[in-house]
Amino acid sequence: MTVFNKLKIFYWSIALVSIILGIIFSVQYRIARDIQYIDSILRTQELTVQVDQMKKERDVLQAQLTRMRGQFENLSTGPLAPEIKEGIEPAFIFAGVTEVSGSGVEVTLQDSSALHEPAENPNFYIVHDEDILKVVNELKAAGAEAVAVNEQRLTATTGISCSGPAISLNNKALVPPFVITAVGSPEILAGALNMRGGVVEFLQFCGIEVSVKKLEKITIPAYTGSIKSDYISERDNNDIREGLI
């Protein structure tokens, strides 16, 4: 083979490679540019920004609400008719609109870390809304006076629901590990959970990691959301006596 021939092969291969590279680059460039401008992505980006901002706004409003409720509570120390004065504190605690502390338990629920067979349903190994509901119900039955899940106070109208891998409660999305705190007698609360055939045993059987800690002092935050009364209105007992129903 001559030198000329060698050179020719070299040039050809370079030319070929350059052409291929050129095509690849231009395609790559266009794809990259298109990704940035796909409508749905733009819209999603915009939504993300809006949602983030609204969340910040919500936090500000929540802080304001909590502060104002606190101001109301402080009014009870002023000169007032005794029936109002004495009614405030228990009602505020019971409603969950004030921060409380006392002895209690802390229950941590975590998705199973054990490896499972690929064919098994992974849903069996994660913490569900139902599991939290069970633990909370058990705590209430054992006399818990205030309960919170991941720092979200449970009120009379709090529903616990599943939203994808997170759990939604008081309009907030909570992610594992789930820490359930309750104020009450630590012995009774822990005893009720750890009972033979009780909720802890059941959850462990499902492969969920559960730990129950008795604590001398635990603080449960106040409910920070709004109190909705779009549908309920008060009804005096008198109405019943008068046969209005």
Binding site: F10, L21, I41, I84, A91, F94, K134, G159, S226, I232
Partner: protein, 235 residues
């Protein structure tokens, strides 16, 4: 021949390396924004946030009016405080309330004679009732009661012996669950395909829902007593 081949090979490899790097950066840049299929979730979240913010703003306005009023004098303060206290009590379940809502009657389905299958799972357990109540609150119910027992922040629905206890009071079937709220939304959420009512029917439990223009829900009547919980005093 060999040399030229290696040169071009080296060149191509370098180019490929650069391209891979470039490609990797574009893809990971794309990951920093939420993927496009999250659009729906975000839109729903936004909707719920809009409602939330509105509710909170309304309440803040209301509270600031009351607080202003309370600043005027003792009589005004008492008035503002008792209105606010009444609202908190309604929310907590400490007063009797009424409003539009739904009544559910939950009972075991009658055994079908000669059907050949035994409904072993027909018993209604505390879990079933707990789920119904929870689902109602998720659907935005503002107050609920089972057989006249108001559900509060510390109410349990739990099997104790052969009865289900609510607020420490035994209740017996048929179970009447009453909830106040947007009646069609409450009923709709439970009646979703693959939803709670479907599930309960599968367990051999019949659940009958009736929308009502007015239902009355009694107050939680036990005496409030907190042995452990103490209010945290802010400085």
């Amino acid at each position: 021949m060999n040399r030229s081949f290696f040169y071009s090979f080296t060149l191509v490899t370098i180019m490929l390396g650069v391209m891979l790097g470039f490609q990797f950066r574009t893809t990971s840049a794309g990951n920093s924004v939420a993927a496009s299929d999250r659009g729906q979730e975000l839109a729903l979240e936004k909707k719920s946030l809009v409602g939330d913010l509105h509710e909170m703003q309304m309440e803040i306005n209301d509270l600031s009016t009351k607080l202003d009023q309370a600043g005027i004098g003792q009589k005004e303060a008492e008035e503002a405080l008792s209105i606010e206290l009444a609202k908190i009590k309604r929310f907590a379940g400490l007063s009797q309330v009424s409003g539009p809502g739904v009544e559910f009657i939950v009972q075991g389905q009658p055994l079908q004679a000669g059907a050949g299958t035994e409904h072993v799972l027909q018993n209604i357990t505390d879990q079933h009732l707990l789920k119904i109540v929870n689902e109602l609150y998720c659907a935005g119910s503002e107050a609920a009661a089972i057989n006249g027992q108001r559900i509060t922040a510390v109410s349990e629905v739990r099997l104790a012996g052969s009865h289900i206890n609510v607020n420490g009071t035994p209740i017996a079937p048929p179970y009447h669950i009453i909830a106040i709220g947007d009646a069609s939304a409450l009923k709709g959420r439970l009646e979703l395909k693959g939803g709670l009512i479907d599930y309960l029917n599968e367990c051999g439990i019949s659940i009958e829902a009736q929308e009502k223009s007015e239902v009355v829900i009694p107050a939680f009547t036990d005496k409030l007593y907190f042995e452990y919980a103490k209010v945290v005093q802010e400085n």
